[in-house]
Assembly symmetry: C2
Homo-oligomer: 334 residues x 2
DNA sequence: AACATTAATGTAAGCGCTTTCATTTGGTTT
DNA sequence: AAACCAAATGAAAGCGCTTACATTAATGTT
């Protein structure tokens, strides 16, 4: 592996000059620039990003922490981030946090120890305090899908409450009155916000929210399945169920069918997230769009702008969800 | 940010000693070890992984190139890799190759320029020659889901042919005789291997493979949809269709239903990959399991063993697929 | 007690770059 | 032709570590 020194030697110039032509900026005569470029070429020179980082105190890497590397939401998010960062020549170091406070902290430590210039965090378990503290100390980071007022500038979030509201409102407007709700773990902000939105829509239509029609799942398929079964068990009638994410909706649909009910004729189901899976399902799932890929891009833009001083458009910090109407919901209005 | 120098000063020892206690290995008296540890603690010292890399000529990072960061297969794969590597303190740098030769090469270059100690590559478009060349020059890498005889040791692959064979065989054994095939892009090795397996099973049962019953898709949902429509268009009767992956199976199912056919009663459909989605679908998809997460882990093990001299079990290079029987296939035997 | 061994620690030279500051070069100006 | 100035280039000091080698301290041997 050729070093900058060998290049300088071959080109008959000093290290500094080689460094200059690499980094574009400073003025170098066209003649020497060519000499150097040729030397690099013949030596097949590749600058060591590590040496460069050490000398310049900038690693050109950003760390990403997501709950799981698999899972449609995270995939889309990472995809958005990578695309954006890669074209800027930055690289992406990833770690998983597993929705567990210890593991998340661990991941953050890991990324920091790796000298990332900035972090993009999708954390759920770690406390607000911890993050506020983290922000006041050294480290630069941006939070996705979480809103903490004290560090609002570091947050890119979805208006989850409005999403929950939209989902339930759509049902109400189509004549449903008895609506069950399958939630995610309510200690997770997004889950509780979505539920709040649901209640809001209900209230707006003068319906008293029946706690017996709420079932708390785990954001996963079996969770949805179990919750649906539990809901059916109550014998309280309901014509529709809104699920706090698409995976649980899939589980719920399955449970309903196992009990001999047809979707959407016997029961309507509404999802949340609009993952790819939602259109694959049968019937195609009505859901609420969570533009997570765009949010990932936005997070990357924020970093490019705030950490690397790149010229980027202003970033928007709160994204709005949108209803996606498909086949899993039936209208009760004749 | 404290440096090793400050630690050494506080502890009243030399740089070298601090370095020694950090790296465990060499003998240091218990007393000084404690002094140093305490000093690190009070200074909240975090070694710079960059300086360390430069000095030791080892970046402790491995690059991963996948076609897309989203997509269930890649998610599972990365998940397996990260888990394994993270516990070993290595970090994971990711990039996307987009199934395009130029973009894949670009990604590889990118990762190499980042001083990764090794690469894990899931590439499809780049040529065998390029990879063989890459192996003979400097760089250490392992290939997932691809088998190249000349560099077999660098390959971890699925026996795709056997997978295709199993899928079709299952159908045949259940009385199906007229079986259509929706393939992935046949220039992709895995796609053509799977199809070969299909033909093999057919031949074994004395059935002549009808080319008109082959339709080449793009491994994506709409591809499956379109192919199914095309197949139906031919008016050639068939009782089952095997799809080269689960996404296309979803699309095919949808197309069939759009044409008024019931799955599996009017037509059986078989998938491939056994992604999470397969069990969410309705009816639950019969498919062939592709243990990609295990393969990711295995790739990581290989790297730990061969690049970092860690003590790891032997790696297996060829994985075997398994049939997963679910509800989307019906038996024609009385 | 004198010496040989071995363990513990220190010294200092890099690793491959960036960057500040000094020096050289070549073109203008008078 | 002397003086000047900006542009181009070079010299050298780090960046924060690792590590080969040298030195010192501790222990054992006779």
């Amino acid at each position: 592996m050729a070093t900058i020194y060998q290049v300088s030697e071959l080109a008959g110039v000093s290290l500094a000059t080689v460094s200059r032509v690499m980094n574009g900026g400073t003025r170098v005569s066209e003649k020497t620039r060519e000499k150097v470029n040729k030397a690099m070429e013949t030596l097949n020179y590749r600058p060591s990003s590590i040496a460069r980082s050490l000398a310049s105190n900038c690693s050109n890497s950003v760390g990403i922490l997501v709950s799981e590397l698999h899972g449609p939401i995270y995939g889309a998010m990472m995809s958005g981030i990578e695309k954006q960062l890669r074209t800027a020549g930055k690289h992406v170091i990833i770690a998983a946090g597993h929705s567990d406070a210890a593991s998340e902290k661990d991941g953050i430590e890991f990324l920091i120890a790796r000298n990332c210039d900035a972090l993009i965090l999708h954390v759920e378990a770690v406390s607000d305090e911890y993050l506020i503290e983290l922000a006041t100390t050294q480290h630069k980071f941006i939070l996705i899908n979480r809103y903490i007022p004290q560090i609002a500038d570091n947050c890119i979030s979805l208006n989850n409450r409005r999403g929950g509201y939209l989902a339930t409102k759509a049902l109400l407007e189509n004549g449903h009155r008895d609506i069950a709700y399958i939630s995610g773990p309510l200690w997770k902000m997004d889950a509780s916000d979505r539920y709040l939105g649901h209640q809001e829509a209900l209230a707006e239509h003068g319906i008293i929210c029946n706690d017996a029609l709420l079932s708390e799942g785990n954001f996963q398929e079996e969770g949805g399945n179990e919750c649906m079964l539990a809901l059916l068990e109550t014998k309280i009638p309901f014509s529709a169920v809104v699920c706090a994410n698409d995976e649980m909706a899939a589980g719920a649909m399955q449970a309903a069918r196992d009990k001999g009910m047809a979707v959407p004729n016997d029961i309507s189901v509404m999802g949340f997230d609009n993952v790819l899976l939602a259109q694959y399902m049968y019937p195609k799932l009505s859901t609420v769009n969570y533009p997570v890929q765009d949010m990932g891009k936005m997070a990357a833009s924020w970093i490019l702008k705030n950490i690397y001083q790149a010229n980027q458009p202003d970033v928007s910090h709160v994204f709005e969800p949108e209803l996606v109407w498909r086949d899993s919901v039936i209208s009760l209005k004749r």
